[in-house]
Amino acid sequence: MFVQNYYNLCYNIKEIVLMKEGDILSYKTLYRTYRPKMFSDVVGQEHITRTFKNALLKDKISHAYLFTGPRGTGKTSVAKIIAKTVNCVKSPTDEPCNVCESCSSINSGFDNDVYEIDAASNNGVDEIREIRDKVKYAPTTSRFKVYIIDEVHMLSTGAFNALLKTLEEPPSHVIFILATTEPHKIPATIISRCQRFDFKSISIKDIVARMKYIISVENIKIEEKAIYTIAKNAQGGMRDALSLLDQVISYSENIVIEEDVHEITGTVSEEKLANIVQYLILGNVNEAICSVDDLISRGKEPLRLIENLIFYFRDIFLINKMEKIDEQLVTNNSDETKEIAAKISENNLFELILILNNTQYEMRKTNQPRVFIELALFELVNKLFIKDIKIEKKEVKENTLKKVIKESETKTEINDSTEKKYIDVSVIEKILNNANKEKKENLKSNWSSIYGININLTNIEQLLIDGQVEAVSNDNKILLSYEVDAECSRLYEKDVYDKAISILNSLFHENYQIVSLPLKIWNEKKGEFIEQFKNNIKQPKLSPITEPIIIKKNNNKFEYEPEIVKEAIGIFGEEIINIK
């Protein structure tokens, strides 16, 4: 709070100093200039604005609101508009006048009775206590004191609890508006004391409409297609759209064209993606590689390219699945894409996306992403280009049979430092039947904080991070999947498992248990589970797992000895050296 006040004070002083000097204020970006000033400016949130307009007109205002929703959907803006409307001289009214003293002082950001608090910087109990102590004083000039607490998910547990009583029964002249992008981090006790409003992602249509309005006011020349491309790229955030628009305007010479947008975002246009996929379907790898090379040499990043391809195939998948195409969901929806979609079978699509996904994963780890892209194109062509399928299948079957026989032969000879284990499928069944989505999302989003424990990662932390959280059950059993079987089986070694558990429990303060599965098996079981669930079986049963996991038995010898140790052993002999 102190910082906040201090900050505001200095803000005022600075404003005055600047005005005296006649200095020109720096350019204000579009998203700040065109921040909605009244309810009719707010785009795509009719369900919220209408409720508020009615409530304000009838003077039936609650004392606590909670605004949630993705970035750039208007949470803070609506909060400010409410603050203006309740304090406006014309109140009760459904729109602020934006002229009166109160409105204009709120617009400029330093009204005495509207406190905009950044909960992330002031997240302690002390700051909340200060609010609690001050709410009882009457507002200085206006009708209501409005506390807008932004990024409220960052408050500490103590701070949340300190706020509870005030939030429930504040003095009649106080309104609290809490805003956050992460509602799952807010305690249920806070949520139940507020009226909750969920802001939706803004549809492409609405973003385009708003941008067109701004373009006409600002007098900007821009291609119609470019506007759509920006809207697609914004992914539901108005602020993202306006940021991008701003950037494109700065970048382009006279008129903004679609290519400028692709240039800035590094994305590839739908047309070019369609071209590449067409080549692949025709079995013409060389042409496909040429066009990819061409894109890369013109400055597109290989990683982005793969990402775009993944999304392209995802859109094709949706086009195949949906009866009526939802433009909000499917952004690549030209006629050419639809044509391509008709040629690709559904089963293939899963494999295609999987190949691309693996490629993307591998690419992050190397310096030569280009080789990976080309390799992926070759693999894709094998899946997409339809040759004489029957003959191929027969060959493959024979080959795999031989392989299986060979493998079973070699497996019997496994040396005695390893052990086979068959995972009990009922454990997985139980987890999936008691899966708790919220817990999973929570854990997933915090999973990377394992990084934060230690600056030097031990291999156990690394092992945990490499795993993919697939499900979390109500009794805190975590299901992890691993792409690499060896990593998966490490978690079945007792001491590794114990350490992993202790890391998790100390980090998340829960009693977790881990079940790890190789990705291949997990995908199989997931498929089974989903299929049965779709057929309305409430408690699906899974078939037993036939492939064993091979576990190394404990071996206390160091695998890699540092040079100095080796030397020491060389001099003194192994028995004398004691490595600590």
């Binding site: 910082v3 201090y6 900050y7 200095c10 803000y11 002083i13 600075k14 404003e15 100093v17 600047l18 000097e21 204020l25 720096s26 350019y27 204000k28 970006t29 700040r32 993705p70 970035r71 750039g72 950001g109 905009e116 950044d118 992330a120 910087s121 932004d150 990024e151 960052m154 992008t181 955030g237 993202d240 940021s243 991008l244 701003d246 950037q247 305007i249 700065s250 970048y251 240039e263 800035i264 975002t265 590094g266 060389n286 590689i289 400055g299 990043e301 591998e362 190397t366 310096n367 030569q368 080789v371 080309e374 390799l375 070759f378 990377s448 904080s449 934060g452 600056i455 060896a486 695998e559």
Partner: protein, 323 residues
């Protein structure tokens, strides 16, 4: 004069920034995103100089302001870097307090935060409001090489500027200036995008031995003689005892295999251009599927090295498969 340092490498970025500056549309918050060694920090300071330079030909790099920024001495230009690998909330609070004070000198304020992907969750959330509604005439420049790890709420408040990796010929030129011979420079440039690391690798004498070995092996593969295992054993480069060496070896082998594939596709623009004639004469002896198979094998080996496998066995396995 300063602009020439970046113009060839980051043309797009300079174009965006200069156009914005000239049109008077500089945004209050930028997010510079791109690989290591792409001069993000340098361009951030370049932007700061642009704002302060007193000369008519901005930025001159010679005037008092430019020099002070260059030496990190300007009171209005603040650089924040991770302390012990993270940016803490205290650093952000300090920043906010520092910038709430009036300036000692006239002019805008610029703050540059490096490696913002290393921000703690607290710090990242604390800076949100500050970025969105800064004091007038304040510019924020955030720098990262890992855009995926940054809060979407931060990204949406900034203008994201994407930095392209250094073009390979830029690295080659740099190495040549440091007296590395052309063919080695071309190959090393493929291994990394960082100038300093490239120079370090190229100055190591081992690298040319490894390159020779790779070429020798490829000759054997093309001529279908079956003794690459022995060649490898007898080579003066002992690949087995040093993981780093083995990684370079695999990378270089991968480049050469990529070259084989290019030649196979009638593309003569390759990295190992001194080998072009030989490859062209012999490329018909190997099937293109085999080349793809070899590339796949090398990639698999590269991945397996990461899992502490036995290097001797891995390498032997790879060499046998390559034949």
């Amino acid at each position: 004069m300063l602009i020439n340092d970046f113009k060839s490498t980051q043309l797009k970025v300079i174009k965006i920034l200069m156009n914005s500056y000239n049109k008077g549309r500089l945004a209050h918050a930028y997010l510079f995103e791109g690989e290591k060694g792409t001069k993000k920090k340098e361009i951030a300071f370049y932007l700061a100089k642009l704002l302060y330079c007193e000369d008519s030909d901005k930025p001159c790099g010679k005037c008092n302001n430019c020099l002070r920024i260059e030496h990190h001495n300007h009171p209005n230009v603040l650089l924040i870097e991770p302390e012990q690998n993270t940016i803490k909330k205290e650093q952000i609070i300090y920043l906010q307090q520092e910038y709430a004070k009036t300036t000692l000198e006239p002019g805008p304020k610029v703050y540059i935060i490096k490696d913002i992907d290393k921000m703690s969750i607290n710090a990242a959330n604390s800076i949100l409001k500050f970025i969105e509604e800064p004091l007038p005439d304040t510019y924020t420049i955030l720098i990262t090489d890992n855009l995926q790890q940054i809060l979407s709420t931060i990204i949406s408040r900034c203008q994201v500027i994407n930095f392209q990796p250094l073009p390979k010929n830029e690295i080659v030129e740099f190495l040549k200036q440091n007296e590395i011979n052309n063919s080695v420079a071309k190959i090393v440039a493929q291994l990394t995008n960082d100038l300093d690391i490239a120079l370090e690798i190229a100055s190591d004498e081992l690298i040319s031995d490894i390159i020779d070995l790779v070429i020798l092996i490829t000759h054997e593969i093309l001529q279908k003689r079956e003794d690459i295992l022995i060649i490898c054993e007898n080579s003066q480069v002992n690949l087995y005892n040093n993981r780093k060496k083995l990684e370079y070896f695999l990378d270089i082998l991968l480049i050469l295999m990529g070259d084989l594939k290019s030649v196979d596709n009638n593309n003569d623009n390759i990295v190992f251009d001194q080998e072009l004639i030989f490859i062209k004469e012999n490329i018909h002896k190997i099937k293109s599927e085999k080349i793809m198979f070899n590339i796949d094998e090398i990639l698999k080996t590269k991945i397996n090295i990461g899992y502490n496998a036995n290097t001797v066995l891995l390498l032997d396995h790879l060499l046998i498969n390559l034949m």
